[in-house]
Amino acid sequence: MTATTAPATPVSLHDCRDAWVTALIELAEADDRIVAVVNDSVGSSKLAPFQERFPERLVNVGIAEQDMVGVGAGLANGGKVPFVSAAACFLTARAMEQIKVDAAYSQHHMVLIGQSPGMAYGELGPTHHSIEDLAWLRSIPGLTVIVPTDPTETAQAVRWAAGAGSPVFIRVSRMGVPDVMPEGYRFEPGRAVQLREGNDVTVVATGTAVARALAAANLLEAQGASARVLAMPTIKPLDGESLLAAAEETAGIVTVEEALTSGLGGAVAEYLSTRRPTLLRFVGVPDTFAPTGPVEWLLDHFSISAEGITSAAREILDRR
């Protein structure tokens, strides 16, 4: 028998789209205002069970993203609660002006679901990656931007958004993620979740990066450093209070995201720079398009990994 470093219980990974569609069907059963709007994305949004259950409430406009978001706004005007679901890369880039004007400026209550975000479409290349979305969307006034950590939080965010009364964007991960959020967890918009206590350095992570941040905290612990881990599911509005506490109580903050670092990283830097200048390191995709490769490989390539996060944290700790 050889020694193994594998965990005693194997970690199972989940596609958050399953949680999204289950939550949507539950909502739709209780509220006939719930409709889904798609751009030929029934399969990629895993909406087949919804379509089977509520065929008339699935509005498929075909491959037409501007129309899709505009139709969503009109459905909201007509008294519906539309969930507009499409691959995040096309939803955000192709329909950006509709997101700005028809959703955010108009304050229509509509939910934009960015499917398979980040680099989930790995080998398909940067045309299909959505690494710009967080930076773009956090710049739009009046839009709530949510990046759930795991299936539990995905379902919670979808349920919350159904009653939000204002426009919401939710990133739904396709790449497998482990269960992270504690039992009984309730999503609150604009609230970070402290997943691990620590007083030496803070890692603030969002979405798929949260599990990697927790793994980094284990590595840091083995090196004698205690890392606080905050999950930041809401990029906008940001939880400034938790950031200020982390800035005061630890040596600095590492941000981690499966996106350009101008997303969460930029938001944290903007917030703290005028309130409490803090030593920061940004883990994510730098100002570049990704090379070809599967998503897990790409995450490692860009150091969005336990080792990469640990190394960024060490840069802060070593400057103390």
Partner: protein
């Protein structure tokens, strides 16, 4: 290149003389057709008068496209549509969306004429902190169903509202006005496909066919013809009408939804700047601001019209 004509004259809003808008309200329910048309003609004349004063006072506006669409707006709000100021929360109200949002002053003035806005509010048009933005905003004015301005947004939104009505099995109708130049935006054709394929019978798309866009004739820019054939090919019931003939417009709008079950497309043939002699069908008047003398002449022509 900037010409002298492009320069916005400096005008003090308070210094521009204007009449308070006489609010005629909706056409009385018991009006004969003749009376209804006379009501609409007079309302349109008063709306144009107030509109030109507003543009002059603001030193900004899009008077050409406003004067081309005013007859359509007045006919919809004072007679054709089932919506009134007390009814804005009623889910069964008819919806109107001005997709060519740059004609905002025409919409605001018509809304005031129909009782949705206080006439005194028109004096704030484009002033700091005014609710009357240069393009209509849903969050600022209750009667505005959708914020518009960038072209190609209103029609997809109207398709969504009509879709919601269809899901509800409702009789409510959605009217949307698009500019003809605006139809160069591809999002409109995405939306027209959706409308036709889903047979959104309670949707009425009005094309303000004034044949001019900001810089030139539509035909000389990126032509739309054969427009009626294109709209029919997308599955719409196409009607062509003189967009300045209130009686003809009333007949067209009364036929929505069409018996065919298709969405209706109304090609409203209009003149930019109508009916002012020096503005009509003149591309220079897309967003030119009239001088004091030009306002006086326009008001005099409106008086005689």
């Amino acid at each position: 290149m900037t010409t002298t004509e492009d320069l916005v004259p400096h005008v003090d809003a308070q210094a521009v003389p204007h009449d308070t808008l006489t609010v005629l309200g909706r056409v009385p329910a018991d009006a004969t057709r003749e009376q209804a048309v006379a009501h609409l003609v007079e309302a349109a004349r008063l709306v144009r008068r107030r509109d030109i004063e507003m543009v002059r006072a603001a030193g900004l506006g899009h008077i050409g496209g406003e004067f081309s669409v005013i007859d359509v707006l007045v006919t919809l709000y004072l007679q054709a549509m089932n919506v009134s100021p007390g009814q804005l929360d009623d889910p069964e109200r008819d919806r109107f969306i001005l997709s060519k949002g740059h004609a905002a002053a025409a919409l605001y003035t018509t809304l005031a004429m129909a009782g949705f806005l206080e006439p005194s509010q028109l004096e704030t048009f484009m002033q700091p902190q005014s609710q009357l933005n240069g393009h209509p905003a849903r969050t600022k004015i209750a009667a505005v169903e959708a914020s518009t301005g960038p072209l190609g947004h209103g029609l997809p939104i109207a398709v969504g509202t009509a879709f919601a009505g269809k899901l509800d099995g409702s009789a409510r109708r959605t009217f949307v006005v698009v500019g003809d130049g605006e139809l160069q935006e591809g999002s409109n054709w995405e939306a027209l496909m959706t409308a036709g394929n889903h047979r959104l019978s309670h949707l009425c798309v009005v094309v303000d066919r004034n044949r001019l866009q900001q810089g030139a004739r539509v035909a000389d820019t990126n032509d739309l013809e054969p427009l009626a054939d294109k709209l029919a090919a997308f599955g719409l019931e196409v009607v062509e009408v003189d967009g300045h003939d209130h009686g003809a417009l009333l007949d067209v709008f009364a036929n929505v939804p069409a018996a065919s079950g298709k969405p209706t497309a109304v090609i409203a043939h209009t003149m930019k700047g109508h009916p002012i002699s020096f503005m009509s069908d003149n591309v220079a008047w897309h967003h030119k601001v009239p001088s004091a003398d030009q306002v006086a002449q326009a008001l005099s022509e409106l008086e005689q019209s």
